[in-house]
């Protein structure tokens, strides 16, 4: 067999870092210029409150992680803020985005020029999100032509540049490839290119790497961070991996069954978790060399039998009688927001 170097085997842009230089991938200090302010976001499906009074802010250029187990409402937050729940659920609350007073109040036509242009999304399963009937090039150019009004030739040129910038080698030739002809990692790169086509201010990345192998996961995370940082965009990651969240995000919001448990700078929240749920979640993370795990019993409640009060109360080791009756408000404690009647003391 001949020795062939596949295009994928070549590093797109070697990222060399001197050991002494400050690490650009460590969470920095959060900016002060708010881009997105979410207040009291509540989503109803029938009478069930699948998101319950969620509030958080995101500054320009910041990365934020929404973490929690399945059913926590992470993806619902992203969908609600992009107006993708219309007709399927009732949404209340307010979400101020840059000069838009409330994203949640926008109706269908109002999204043009906003969704896809200023707010973009990377989906979990790129293979399912890309249309299998059209080439990568036509899906990318259609975004550019529709959203930016470019002509065919300019759009094509721009698309090739974009594919090149996300690390697809031989980008011009890849334009005519169908999604199934690309590997999972390459498909995810195309998704990143489409999401970033219009230089959005805000990018949602819904579990962008959970379907990928670990070495490819590292490439894609690096790519998303590089691209958003280069463009000064803010990024909201939906993640289930706390360790990955600590590596990628400035701020973190810990959710459980649709409620915010704890939120704040990721180093503050994850190094010294004060909410019992954050602490439990962190204690379940297996790192290499972990010898003992002490997971809580039970699992996240379904939406049909949500407990009243604090939804974590049924599984909480620090539960008080009032927890099941009365929902704790988000208060400020030790540099983070916390919703707990009986928070952990510092370590």
């Amino acid at each position: 067999m001949t020795h062939t170097i596949l295009p994928e085997m070549i590093v797109p842009r070697p990222l060399s870092r001197g050991p002494a230089s400050p690490d650009p991938y460590l969470p920095g200090t959060p900016g002060s210029d708010p881009l997105l302010t979410v207040t009291g976001l509540t989503v109803y499906r029938g009478s069930r409150r699948i998101l319950d009074d969620v509030s958080f802010t995101l500054a320009r250029g910041e990365t934020l992680a929404l973490v929690g187990e399945s059913g926590a409402g992470k993806s619902t937050i992203a969908s609600a803020l992009m107006g993708l729940l219309a007709g399927r659920a009732r949404v209340t609350g307010q979400a101020a985005f840059d000069d838009v007073p409330d994203l949640l109040a926008i109706t269908s036509k109002g999204w043009s020029g906003l969704r896809g242009q200023r707010i973009a999304m990377i989906f979990q399963d790129a293979g399912a999100a890309l249309n299998p009937c059209f080439t990568v090039g036509s899906q990318l150019t259609s975004v550019l032509r529709r959203q930016l009004g470019l002509d065919r030739a300019t759009a094509r040129q721009r698309a090739v540049t974009l594919l090149d910038s996300v690390g697809l080698n031989d980008a011009a030739a890849r334009m005519s490839a169908y999604p199934h002809q690309l590997s999972g990692g390459m498909q995810q790169r195309v998704m990143v290119a489409i999401a970033l086509a219009c230089d959005p201010d805000l990018l949602f990345a819904d579990e962008p790497t959970s379907a990928l192998d670990v070495t490819i996961q590292a490439q894609i995370v690096r790519l998303i961070l590089d691209q958003t940082r280069a463009k000064g965009a803010s990024c909201v990651f939906v993640l289930h991996d706390l360790a990955l969240a600590s590596q990628t995000c400035d701020r973190i919001v810990v959710l459980y069954a649709g409620q915010v448990m704890e939120s704040g700078p990721s180093d503050v929240v994850l190094n010294d978790p004060r909410h019992p749920y954050t602490r439990l979640l962190k204690s379940c993370v297996i790192e290499i060399g972990t010898h003992d795990l002490d997971p809580p019993d039970g699992s996240v409640p379904g939406y049909d039998d949500l407990p009243g009060g604090c939804r974590f109360a049924t599984r909480c080791p620090r539960r008080l009688p009032r927890c099941a009756a009365e929902r704790p408000p988000l208060t400020t404690l030790a540099g983070r927001s916390l919703a707990c009647w009986n928070p952990e003391t510092g370590e």
Binding site: M9, L281, P295
Partner: protein, 363 residues
Amino acid sequence: MIAAHDVAPAHLPDTTPPEPQVLFELVEVEKVFMVRKPGSLFGGAKVGLPALDGVRLKIRKGASVALVGESGSGKSTLLRVLLGLTRPTQGHALYQGRPIDQVRAEGPAFARQVAMIYQDARGSLNPRMTIAALIAEPLRHFRICPEADIPDRVHSLLARVGLPAEVADRYPAAMSGGQVRRVAIARALASEPTVLVADEAVSGLDVSTQAQLLNLLRRLQRDMALTLVFITHDLGVASYLCEEIAIMYLGRIVETGPTNAVLTAPAHPYARALRRAAPEFFAPISDPLPGEIPSPLDLPTGCRFSGRCDVAQADCHLSDPALVRLGGGASDRAAACFHPLLPDANTDLGHTTATHLKRDIHA
């Protein structure tokens, strides 16, 4: 639990006859699937796809072995060979010294001793059968106990995997993802196996559920003295559950040894890349491994990892290194690399500097 690496050097070609406690032994196993040439729609030429190549592995009784690798590395094919579902095209796959397909053909004893937990637990359970019926099925099939004792046996199996007795009358659709996995484990344990083979048994679950299941599997393995073969892509899971590890890349085992030693100081550059890519709290994101796993239909010449390896040298592109013992005969570690990494090259896993160990080819 038997301290596996105290007994004998693992997974290496051995001139001495197999020790009695070796359950599985793979000797130079190769599996080539014939597939249609890519691009040809109808008929056309067939080409060989090597899914496994030169695999040597020994699994001793009571050991816990993790098979780790990314998609396309041949983990699942190796598992099928171990279970006798796939016959190797070359080499020998032995169970207690005899070819697996022969042992399997002799009757249900092998299937009873070697139980499997499938990756898609829900898909492996008949949706029209209750949990009790699902667990009773292997009990009846292998005639484990008299018909009258079956309900009691089902309940004790449910208790053993941590499920309440009242789930017995439910259907799989009414169970959560974690509960369904427990049912699959109970079914596997029903035949009173000596070997438990699990394919990604805890992947795709929430962390707390995953932790519960890992604790369950660890307890079962210890209490029942099971031999555990665990396929995973998660190094953390491998290190939590298994004492030995075999890291695979493109149909080859590239490194084996005690899990702790291998993960603390990987000798194969691919093992190190995997180790670095695993997320760690507040660690800077390391330089990702470039490129993707090449197609097995178009393998690079020489070492299969050479195209992505940052320490590859000229000889790496010329011939394919075999899995050889590291650092002399007494070692329990082996790697398939011409230039294995020295332990001190791994002290800082975040940097790409590497020193090389001159390997003793005659070791």
